[in-house]
């Protein structure tokens, strides 16, 4: 087995511990339980503290502009920095409106108004365990957005970070398992996060689709070492 880093938490090694998690579970806002969750298990209640729903709206900006059919810009998902991120919310994005959705993590659970949520290296899509938006996502191997002119016919999945017995499922670095999959490569010597050559196609319940690409995790030109400041681009695709 690989060594476990146990001092000064190394990226991704400190995964969730054991837990029954079935005691005194309550849902104060009473959103419907997500469709693939077993009865009585709210996926949000099994999230580790770093990704638990926060009762506030993100201060992170979504700064984008559109040219031709492509929307591009930055999404500030820094969430207060590494040390404060556990207590700051995701930033929510509507890919059709091309704008941030000002909504708390708690309210996002029952909202259909957002497509993607970002917080540090955690990316989620509004469906499955993440929300009631019935979005699914397909991962397309493509280095540029232009390469993707239509969504694939199949391969769409939704976020699924709980097991049937209410256990948390994480990506290798500890983020909740989402339809994005392990979207980046991590260099454990330089600690640099590099997005894979992938384009993500979001499909909505009405059949509309958007293609989303991450150019870099370090999109703050004034501070190029600042992670979780995404440079992104997206466009609308033909509907299903």
């Amino acid at each position: 087995m690989a060594p476990r880093i146990t001092r000064l938490a190394l990226f991704g090694i400190l995964v969730a511990g054991c837990g029954g998690d079935d005691g005194e579970t309550v849902t104060p806002d009473a959103p419907p339980v997500q469709e693939d969750a077993p009865t009585g298990c709210d996926p949000a209640t099994v999230l580790p503290s770093n990704y638990r729903p926060i009762a506030m709206t993100s201060a992170g900006a979504v700064s984008v502009s559109s040219a031709s059919d492509v929307t591009s810009g930055t999404i500030d998902a820094t969430a207060g920095g590494l040390a404060n991120a556990p207590d700051n919310p995701y930033v929510y994005v509507d890919l059709v409106a091309g704008a941030k959705v000002a909504i708390s993590d708690l309210d996002a659970r029952s909202s259909t108004g957002w497509d993607l949520a970002l917080k540090r290296a955690s990316l989620r899509v509004n469906g499955g365990d993440s929300g009631m938006g019935k979005r699914t996502l397909a991962v397309v191997q493509a280095a540029t957005l232009a390469e993707v002119t239509a969504g694939p016919a199949s391969g769409y999945t939704s976020d699924d970070f709980t097991t049937d017995d209410c256990m948390f499922v994480a990506h290798p670095a500890g983020e909740p398992m989402s339809a994005f999959g392990p979207w980046y490569d991590y260099d454990d010597q330089t600690h640099v996060v590099t997005p894979k050559a992938e384009v993500y196609v979001v499909e909505r319940d009405d059949g509309t689709r958007s293609a989303f690409r991450i150019e870099t995790y370090y999109g703050d030109t004034g501070n190029p070492m600042r992670g979780a400041y995404y440079q992104v681009e997206w466009k609308q695709l033909p509907a299903r």
Binding site: A2, P3, I5, F11, S49, R52, A55, A170
Partner: protein
């Protein structure tokens, strides 16, 4: 899935002899005579230990110090009642506990696992080879902070591997504090990372990079030791063989812990921690002052947590808390008061709310979350005139301070009785 797997570790076939263990350039080893540890160190390359050998025994002084620190720590942990690390057989060359010194990049120590049977695991220690580039005030403090910490992880593996980092790291930092007290500042360095986040749900595991909270969570076992004795920490680890850490936390102990934390950063005579005055203060919510603000406020409470709400009262007030779906305990202590001066909010007749009447002055309301993996819930705090409904209450109305004293006395009894319940669920199991 990771979580599920972590909780259902099965016997893993023994790997080829120490195949995964570090390989050091020009490896040499050292162990004290009749000792329990074998320190592996490189004699060349980037992993090499500092060569200084002032005592001329042909062993680098750094290596000798590492060995002496862990040889001192192990029997002291055993004296508290902790198990020894499980034997690794002949891995590493013999049956001694192996410590490999390496030039580590960001973390300064880790434990490796060779194999597990159920929740019990066998492993080894990797520790920084020279502490160059780390911020410890001395190399010796680096050794004393890291080597026993990693040893304690091996001890944990004799009970239950893969518990929440909040417990594994927290109790490892506590173990160093137990050994050295004021002679080492590791505990104090991490303390702000917990005391600045008292609103976080303690029972939820932490993941990720850059968050010191699990280390600062050493305050919980520190509290257990101060309040109930180190046996409570041993008992909690024993209980982890059959339950997750969060289930070892007793509500009454948690309530008392959050009230001790109210006194962090105040004179030591006020609260339970001997060194409370040197601790950072827990964060405060905005002050509720009914003379200038609406006499109500909403705070969010989740899981096992605490919120500290200052109250500025010109007159006696009835304080009422409606916590909705989450279970809470609430307690009010006057500014400058001590643990014994607090007033417990009690269930109101015919209402789910908790209420108490307090006299004028500055106070802090401590709202303790008692949920487990709950979502953040809005808790409403409402201040109002004390009720007038009987002769007794009429006299209180006329003399709020006298009423405060009577209520305070009754509540003190409640608090003390609660406080002296058996230590923790773990301790009684």
């Amino acid at each position: 899935m990771i979580r599920g797997l972590a909780c259902t570790l099965v016997l893993v076939a023994a790997s080829p002899a120490d195949a995964a263990r570090p390989v050091l350039a020009g490896e040499a080893t050292f162990g004290v005579a009749n000792g329990a540890f074998l320190v592996h160190y490189a004699t060349t390359g980037g992993d090499a230990a500092p060569a200084a050998d002032l005592d001329g025994d042909a062993i680098p002084d750094f290596v000798t110090e590492v060995a002496e620190v862990v040889e001192d720590a192990l029997p002291r942990f055993a004296a508290l009642g902790f198990r020894a690390p499980l034997s690794d057989g002949a891995l590493g060359g013999d049956g001694r506990i192996d410590i490999y010194l390496r030039d580590l990049a960001i973390a300064d120590g880790n434990t490796g696992i060779d194999q597990c049977t159920g929740t019990h695991c066998v492993g080894y220690i990797v520790a920084e080879n020279d502490f160059a580039g780390f911020s410890y005030p001395t190399v010796g403090e680096g050794i004393r902070s890291v080597a026993p910490h990693e040893l304690f992880h091996l001890i944990q593996h004799a009970y239950a591997a893969e518990q929440s980092p909040t417990w594994t790291e927290g109790s490892a930092v506590w173990s160093v504090e137990h050994l050295y007290g004021d002679g080492n500042a590791d505990f104090e360095r991490f303390l702000p990372t917990f005391l600045s986040k008292t609103f976080r749900p303690f029972e939820r595991p932490a993941t990720g990079f850059g968050d010191g909270y699990p280390y600062g969570a050493a305050l919980w076992p520190y509290f257990l030791e101060q309040r109930f004795g180190a046996a409570a920490v041993v008992a909690a680890w024993t209980a982890c063989e059959t339950m997750p850490f969060a289930d070892t936390i007793d509500d009454a102990a948690w309530i008392e812990f959050t009230r001790w934390n109210q006194f962090a950063g105040t004179p030591a005579s006020s609260g339970g921690y001997p060194a409370a005055a040197s601790f950072p203060r827990a964060p405060r919510e905005p002050t509720i002052d009914p003379t200038i603000d609406p006499a109500s406020a909403t705070i969010y409470v989740e899981g096992l947590s605490a919120r500290y709400v200052p109250l500025a009262l010109a007159t006696a007030q009835q304080v009422e808390i409606d916590s909705g779906p989450i279970a809470v305990a609430a307690w009010i202590v006057p500014t400058g008061g001590s643990l014994d001066a607090g007033i417990e909010l009690a269930p109101a007749a015919g209402s789910p709310a908790l209420v108490a009447t307090v006299g004028p002055g500055d106070h802090t309301l401590v709202v303790t979350g008692l949920g487990r993996n709950t979502l953040a819930a809005a808790v409403t705090i409402t201040l109002g005139e004390p009720p007038v409904s009987s002769d007794d209450s009429g006299s209180c109305q006329a003399s709020p301070d006298a009423c405060f004293g009577l209520v305070g006395f009754l509540m003190l009894v409640v608090v003390r009785r609660r406080g002296y319940r058996p230590a923790t669920r773990a301790a009684s199991s």
